[in-house]
């Protein structure tokens, strides 16, 4: 298949006096570039819009707590060298001011 595209990319050449002539081929390349930007950029904007509407930006930290459970709750380390207990003191710096998930719900 002979593609016209190699010539497209070679299309814009600088003339010896420093001027540049824009050919039809250049226009096609520019359209493809701009089109890609519009397409992908538009998709990103739509995605961001969806995310806002869908409530993705509320209550982030709930997700962070999801990996814990009653058997491995927050505050209990879960790994140690064999034959030793992990240091069992509760973690410092736990953000006490951040509302707990339950407190966010009404009742």
């Amino acid at each position: 298949m002979t593609s016209p595209l190699p010539t497209l990319f070679a299309a814009a050449t600088a003339a010896n006096d420093g001027t540049v002539t824009l050919t039809a081929a250049d226009v096609v390349v520019l359209l493809m570039l701009v089109g890609s930007i519009v397409f992908f950029g538009g998709a990103a904007v739509l995605a961001l819009g969806w995310a806002f509407r869908n409530g993705q930006f509320e209550n982030f930290q709930q997700g962070a707590a999801s990996i814990f459970g009653p058997d491995e709750p927050i505050g209990e380390p879960t790994d140690s060298f064999p034959g030793q207990r992990p240091d069992a003191t509760p973690p410092r710096n736990l953000d006490q001011s951040r509302p707990e998930p339950d407190e966010c719900r009404a009742g």
Binding site: A64, P73, I74, F81, P82, R85, P91
Partner: protein, 501 residues
């Protein structure tokens, strides 16, 4: 004191919705959650351990090949007789063994186990995954042996002869399907960040591999399009297959081990999407200065520099999560390896971004500096995090603690010191190698003579790392064979061991 959890009737309600200040985590809840966790672990034990064992096996093979190749570079008469052991073949075989063997199998192990855990779902039809593991292992064996016996392709990362490719395609196809299947059957409503990374990785890798094999081997593209596709593939194997699963693993292991949630979940989401957007554009920095269109190299430099965003996001997140808990590194093997890997990730990515700038690349390209960077990435970052994962995961799957603290420490220090020596020696040596290459008044012989001591230091580092791997393999085998104290109370319900010796 009413427990806020057991007061509700919905059986599917997540049992994590409780305040840590709530002093009562009822025993019943604990036991139920532990049993659920144990059931999940038990369901994936077989296939996950199969993949993990294969990974450890190829780690040993790859380490042996690595040391042989390294020695050959400063002592060229070492094993120079047989064709099968000539440097070029050993080097290609080494990469297949550690890249397609150890690292990929560890990635699959991590993806399967963590997806099951995070989805709170058991693995379905686990036996079919054995077929996938067998297929993948066959592929790696064919790759390594095929290269040794003369069928190497001289395409970076894709040196495996073509008869190995179908086995990889089958292997990853099954794994990807299974990961998605587990995800779709999830009981946990929240999709944790690690799952994002895993889902993306099992989607990206098959696409990468298929495109690369198509355009380089089956319908070979013309001329420089091949290296362009090659480096899009090669860089993205690291950035969109290994990295997401490794970073995701760190996002799971670090909070789990210290018992504290990730510092900023918002940053982790930013990090994920920034990685997805920018990493895939960075691949052409391997060809800066080469016979490719200038716009291509520039686009990749931009992509590489933009990688600062996700890397800083991840770095801040991990660091802030660890802040105030660095003393836990004394107590937890999994944490040590994982945090080392996470720090290496920040470091190697920052280095990589800088290295992609033209002025840096002019010096570092074609030199051992790049080799140092590559190994800091796949070993210092990816391998160390997966070591951490294995140390955490295996006792929970087998119900047995590791047999020896001493061997764990040996492994850690050999690997950590080894990769540090490796990185420092080849970075210094490689940098000056690059400077000298760019100076035509320096004869090539002088450059070679200069670099030899650094290559020797790399051999020492490699031997050290191999010792660590042997310790790791010994521990692994001992654990699977049943040596080592039983984890009390079942695989994942950790109880303090009796005061002891």
């Amino acid at each position: 004191m009413p427990s806020r959890v057991t007061g509700k009737a919905e059986p599917k309600r997540r049992v994590t919705e409780m305040s840590t200040t709530d002093a009562v985590i009822s025993e019943a809840d604990r036991v139920r959650a532990a049993a659920e966790r144990a059931a999940i672990d038990a369901s994936c034990r077989g296939p996950v351990l199969f993949f993990a064992s294969s990974a450890v096996f190829w780690l040993l093979v790859g380490s042996a090949l690595a040391v042989i190749a390294s020695v050959k570079l400063h002592s060229p008469y070492f094993l120079t007789g047989p064709a099968e052991l000539t440097f070029g073949r050993v080097r290609m075989a080494h990469l297949q063994a550690v890249g397609l063997g150890w690292t990929s199998l560890a990635t699959i192990t991590a993806a399967l186990w963590q997806m099951c855990r995070l989805a709170r779902t058991e693995l379905i039809y686990p036996k079919i995954l054995y077929a996938s593991g067998l297929s993948w292992n066959t592929g790696v064996a064919l790759a390594v042996l095929g290269i040794i016996f003369g069928d190497g392709q001289s395409v970076e990362w894709l040196d495996a002869p073509q008869y190995a490719a179908p086995f990889f395609v089958l292997g990853i196809g099954i794994v990807s399907a299974w990961v998605v299947a587990v995800f779709r059957r999830r009981r946990e409503p929240h999709v944790y960040v690690t799952q994002w990374y895993i889902l993306a990785a099992v989607f990206w890798f098959p696409w990468l591999y298929t495109v690369a094999v198509f355009m380089i081997f089956w319908f070979p593209a013309t001329g420089v399009v091949q290296p362009i596709v090659n480096w899009w593939f090669g860089h993205n194997v690291i950035g969109l297959w290994f990295t997401p699963v490794a970073v995701g693993t760190a996002y799971y292991i670090i909070p789990k081990v210290i018992g504290r949630p990730i510092h900023s979940y918002y940053l982790s989401i930013t990090g994920f999407w920034a990685l997805a957007l920018f990493y895939a554009w960075a691949g052409m920095h391997h060809l800066i200065g080469g016979p490719i269109p200038a716009w291509l190299a520039t686009a990749s430099t931009v992509g590489s520099m933009m990688m600062f965003i996700p890397v800083i996001a991840v770095g801040i997140n991990h660091h802030m999560t660890m802040l105030g808990h660095f003393d836990r590194l004394k107590y937890s093997p999994a944490l040590r390896f994982t945090v080392f890997g996470a720090i290496a990730y920040t470091w190697v990515s920052a280095q990589g971004a800088i290295e992609s700038l033209k002025d840096f690349s002019e010096v570092a390209h074609f030199t051992h500096y790049t080799v140092a960077h590559a190994h800091l990435g796949v070993y210092g970052f990816v391998a160390m995090i997966f070591f951490g994962l294995f140390y955490y995961m295996v006792p929970r799957l087998t119900g047995r603690e590791w047999a020896s603290s001493g061997l764990i420490r040996l492994h850690f220090w050999c690997s950590a010191v080894g990769i540090t020596i490796y990185f420092v020696a080849l970075s210094i040596g490689g940098w000056w190698q690059g400077r000298m290459l760019n100076n035509p008044n320096v004869p090539f012989g002088a450059i070679t003579t200069y670099i030899k001591p650094y290559l020797f230091a790399r051999t020492l580092a490699g031997v050290l790392m191999t010792v660590g791997h042997l310790a790791f393999a010994a521990l692994f085998v001992m654990n699977l064979a049943g040596w080592g104290r039983k984890r009390s109370g079942g695989p994942t319900y950790f109880n303090e061991p009796p005061a002891n010796p």
